[in-house]
């Protein structure tokens, strides 16, 4: 081999791509699964290019962090705060409390509030855009996500009326 460093140079990107794939797979397998309801972020244009733009619709159980900690008005996701997830026996969706990030001990899962801030994106096939936009207006949409112990959220799949949506 004329240039041994060249071998290293061409192998590094492949190893790096494998690592990125492995990390994404690990997050999906390792984390605790949750169903989170979503709605279109901008009702005029839900489908922007190849992305579905959406916002999470959380079942709030209160907030002790951020501007809405005092209990005035609708709870807003606050930068620097965390979200604590708990199961609700009467609903497939979790109850969510917003709290300071040093108070997440005891939560079944937790994630940073900014990671759920709208607009979020979900990749979709371009030619299914109109169909999905219509479905999002008329049916209940949710995402199956997994949240790992370090608070990282990974999106798994889109569900419409409880059924997985297949592109």
């Amino acid at each position: 081999m004329k240039d041994r460093l060249l071998l290293v140079a061409v192998v590094i990107p492949i190893l790096g791509l494998l690592a990125l794939i492995g990390r994404a797979e690990f997050k999906l397998l390792d984390g605790r699964p949750w169903m989170l309801r979503i709605h279109g972020y901008d009702p005029r244009d839900l489908i922007s290019g190849h992305y579905l733009r959406f916002a999470y619709e959380l079942d709030w159980e209160g907030s002790t962090c951020g501007e809405t900690a005092a209990g005035f008005g609708e709870i807003q996701l606050a930068e620097g705060c965390c979200l604590c997830f708990s199961e609700q026996s009467w609903s497939p969706y979790p109850g969510v409390r917003q709290l300071a990030c040093d108070q997440v001990d005891g939560c079944l899962s937790w994630t940073r509030a900014r990671d759920l801030a709208p607009p979020q994106r979900y990749f979709i096939p371009e030619d299914r855009g109109t169909e999905l936009e219509e479905a999002l207006r008329t049916r209940e949409a949710a995402l199956r996500v997994t949240i790992s112990d370090d608070g990282t959220l990974a999106i798994d799949r889109l569900y419409l009326d409880g059924e997985p949506w297949r592109p």
Binding site: V10, I12, P13, G16, L17, L20, A154, I155
Partner: protein, 386 residues
């Protein structure tokens, strides 16, 4: 062929004899690349690639994510193997360039398959990190330029993400961004890099000097209107201190940037210090509404660049610098005496100034060309040499 026509013309005018013309023809024929072969081979490869792409694209949605990633990785392995196997330098460069772009596309594909909602700076940083060693193996100037641009975009996005939301974030960005042009120049001063990658050094230096010159020229507009408020100027200090340290380092190692042209060391230092002063002093001192000072700063900067170009025998840069100085002088006239333009006196003096600058520029160009050992540029309308 183009050179055939030229050789015949030169022979007719007695500039070269038949024997010399025959030697040149023989030399050019020997050194000629099989351009047609390359073109046909390239066209064939492109057609196949487009065909594969069309098949994949038409079935894209039906392909499961895992298969997409497997095919993507197989392609990456194929390109990697081809880079290792080829003995043709031009093909290896083309494949490295392809691989460089392919890694970015692959990161995008992974993000798509796994619905990763991360920020752009994270994807670009991963790309730059994964391809760093690869790009150090490239030998061509074009790839080195593309690499430096990629690194600079990565730097800008990372800085943007790091300072987002901080008070005075625009001032911090303004202060820190010039480092993206100064750091490559520092890289160019290392002997090992100069010996191992002369084209990379040429590419880095060319792009970095161009960016510095235009950034400093743009910064002279701050003399006209300063966009930073009093409370924001603190953000400039970090960048200013780092930039000053790098400029000091470059001044100390200026000899390694000029090669054998030792007489270019002083003008190079003057250009560096001028660019630093013009870039940072007006925003730091809160200078505002100093139009004439701004114009003089521009003239001073480009005069220093012209001096550097002259000392380093860089003809094209010298011509650019002198032309910009002339153009700026005209703009100063319009800025200062704009109100006179509505009168005949204003138009006459403006026209005379334009002619004077054009005449002085043509004269000076000829002097410079003679000094640099080139044939003097022929005056417009002069006869072709017989």
């Amino acid at each position: 062929m183009l050179y055939d026509r030229k050789l015949s013309e030169w022979q007719r005018h007695g500039l070269i004899d038949a024997e010399t013309a025959a030697k040149i023809r023989a030399y050019e024929s020997d050194g000629q690349r099989p351009v047609l072969l390359y073109a046909v081979a390239g066209l064939g490869a492109l057609t196949i690639a487009l065909g594969v792409l069309a098949i994949v694209a038409s079935n894209w949605e039906a392909i499961p994510g895992g298969l997409k990633l497997a095919v993507d990785l197989a392609f990456a392995c194929g390109i990697a193997a081809a880079i290792l196997k080829t003995s043709r330098p031009w093909l290896r460069e083309a494949l490295i360039g392809l691989y460089y772009g392919f890694v970015l596309a692959s990161i995008g594909l992974i993000a798509q398959v796994y619905h990763l909602g991360g920020a752009t700076w994270q994807a670009i940083s991963a790309w730059s990190a994964l391809t760093f060693v690869l790009m150090t193996r490239s030998q061509s100037r074009g790839l080195a330029t593309a690499w430096l641009l990629g690194l600079q975009v990565t730097f800008a996005l990372c800085v943007g993400a790091l300072i987002e939301g901080l008070p005075g974030d625009e001032a911090i960005a303004y202060g820190v961004f010039p480092l993206a042009a100064l750091l490559p120049l520092v890289v160019c001063t290392f002997d090992q890099v100069q010996k191992a990658r002369p084209r990379l050094v040429a590419a880095f230096a060319g792009l970095a000097w161009t960016e510095l010159a235009w950034a400093a020229s743009g910064a002279t507009l701050l003399f006209y209107e300063n966009p930073f408020r009093d409370g924001e100027r603190g953000g400039l200090v970090i960048g200013a201190v780092l930039a000053a340290a790098l400029v000091a380092l470059l001044c100390a190692r200026a000899g390694r940037l000029v090669g054998a042209r030792r007489e270019a060391i002083t003008p190079l230092r003057v250009v560096l210090v001028s660019a630093l002063a013009i870039g940072y002093l007006p925003p730091l001192l809160g200078v505002d509404d100093q139009n004439l000072v701004g114009a003089l700063a521009f003239l001073g900067l480009w005069a220093a660049i012209a001096w550097l170009a002259h000392a380093s025998h860089h003809r094209r840069l010298l011509n650019t610098a002198t032309a910009l100085i002339g153009l700026r002088l005209l703009i100063i006239y319009f800025e200062v005496f704009g109100s006179l333009l509505s009168t005949g006196l204003g138009l006459i003096s403006g026209g005379l100034l334009t002619l004077g600058i054009a005449y002085a520029w043509a004269q000076k160009r000829r002097d410079f060309a003679a000094e640099l050992g080139d044939p003097a540029p022929s005056a417009p309308g002069s006869e072709h040499p017989q």
